[in-house]
């Protein structure tokens, strides 16, 4: 019996590892989210206008729920811009806020982008915040940096300082957060392509490109609202 004991122990551990790994995989696998067709319903993803770049009749719409302090979101920012340049009129990009609680300055950054939006410069601030993420995310007082960014973008600083505190900016961020929660979004970036969430494993430039191509090849593209 002793002769076979190491074989039995090893086989038991192999089995236990496979079973526990499979159980963990099932528990951790992110749900396949979709934005309901009836996006006019309260709390649905496309009910109100997000920040939009691209033509309204584009066959493919990317909706990103992002957090300006999230490194993976920053990593995807430029690749998404590149996709916009590559696909031109065939792609529309929508951004929505989902600042995570564990990111100290994420909400403030979202408000800064909304304050920039009130002067018509949301996307410029969006790109700048992602590009400079490693700088401001470690800063003690981010307001100083955000004011400097507003200056770089040629915004009216006094108005920017007032707008970042405004109820309008806060309401916009909160509205996006409510939409995210209603859709079951838990992490960032969560990206929908034509209302279907892109699996986390495909959240990279080739994965997104493949998903867009698949959406373009789809026989009847799902009409996506903002």
């Amino acid at each position: 019996m002793k002769r076979y004991l190491p074989f039995v122990i090893t086989a038991a551990v192999a089995l236990a590892t496979l079973v526990s790994g499979a159980m963990l995989y099932r528990a951790k696998r992110l749900p396949a989210l979709t934005i309901p067709e009836n996006s006019a319903a309260p709390g649905a993803g496309g009910a109100e206008s997000g920040h939009v770049r691209g033509r309204s009749d584009a066959p493919v719409t990317i909706i990103e729920f992002g957090d300006f302090q999230c490194p993976p979101c920053a990593n995807l920012s430029e690749p998404i811009n590149q996709l916009e340049r590559d696909y031109r009129s065939r792609l529309r990009v929508v951004f929505r806020h989902f600042p995570l609680g564990n990111h100290l300055h994420a909400r403030e950054a979202a408000l800064a982008s909304e304050a920039a939006d009130l002067q018509g410069r949301f996307w410029e601030m969006h790109d700048l915040l992602y590009r400079e993420q490693s700088v401001w995310s470690k800063a003690q007082d981010v307001r100083v940096l955000f004011n400097a960014y507003a200056g770089m973008l040629g915004l009216n600083i006094d108005r920017f300082k007032k707008d970042i505190e405004s109820e309008q900016a806060k309401a916009r961020v909160e509205s996006d957060e409510q939409k995210a929660v209603a859709l079951g979004v838990r992490t960032t970036p969560t990206i929908f392509i034509n209302n279907h969430a892109v699996p986390a494993a495909l959240l990279n430039p080739p994965g997104l490109r493949g998903s867009i191509d698949a959406a373009l090849r789809a026989p009847t593209p799902v009409s996506s609202t903002q």
Binding site: A14, G21, L30, P71, L100, P189
Partner: protein, 144 residues
């Protein structure tokens, strides 16, 4: 304590340590397969390490290789504890390889990524422990 008993204790200890490593590596493999390391939810440092290109080899998560390696260590240590002398040679080879890979990964985290993943550091500590055991274990001439 005689040499044989000392050897059994050391290999049993190695098997137990490798079980902890197996759990750690399995967890990281699942994280990589579900794409959890590619989204925010954990610490930024975790993403910098586990979401980097160094966390995969030919598209396969490094953690998956770690899972296989720890399972190998567990198996060889178990067989070595039961007196299989050849298992000791395989154990030494596996742990030696893991030691070198761990040094490389620590170098990457320290000097290239400038970020540390706590699961990776835990695994590194386990590998150093296993290396110590392999060095300490007396040689055996007995075969089953």
């Amino acid at each position: 304590m005689n040499t044989s008993r000392f050897r059994i204790i050391l290999y049993t200890l190695a098997a137990i340590i490798s079980l902890a490593g197996l759990a750690d590596a399995t967890y990281l493999t699942v994280q990589a397969l579900t794409g959890e390391t590619l989204v925010c939810g954990g610490s930024p440092d975790c993403f910098r390490v586990l979401g980097s290109s160094y966390a995969r080899l030919a598209g396969i998560p490094m953690a998956a290789f770690g899972t296989l390696a720890y399972f190998g260590v567990f198996s060889f240590a178990t067989f070595a504890a039961f007196g299989y002398t050849r298992a000791r040679a395989f154990l030494t080879l596996t742990v030696g390889t893991m030691f070198l890979v761990t040094l490389w990964l620590l170098y990457v985290q320290t000097f290239i990524l400038h970020a540390f993943c706590r699961y990776c550091l835990f695994s590194a500590a386990l590998v150093f422990g296993l290396s110590g055991i392999v060095v300490l274990a007396p040689s055996s001439r007995r075969s089953p």
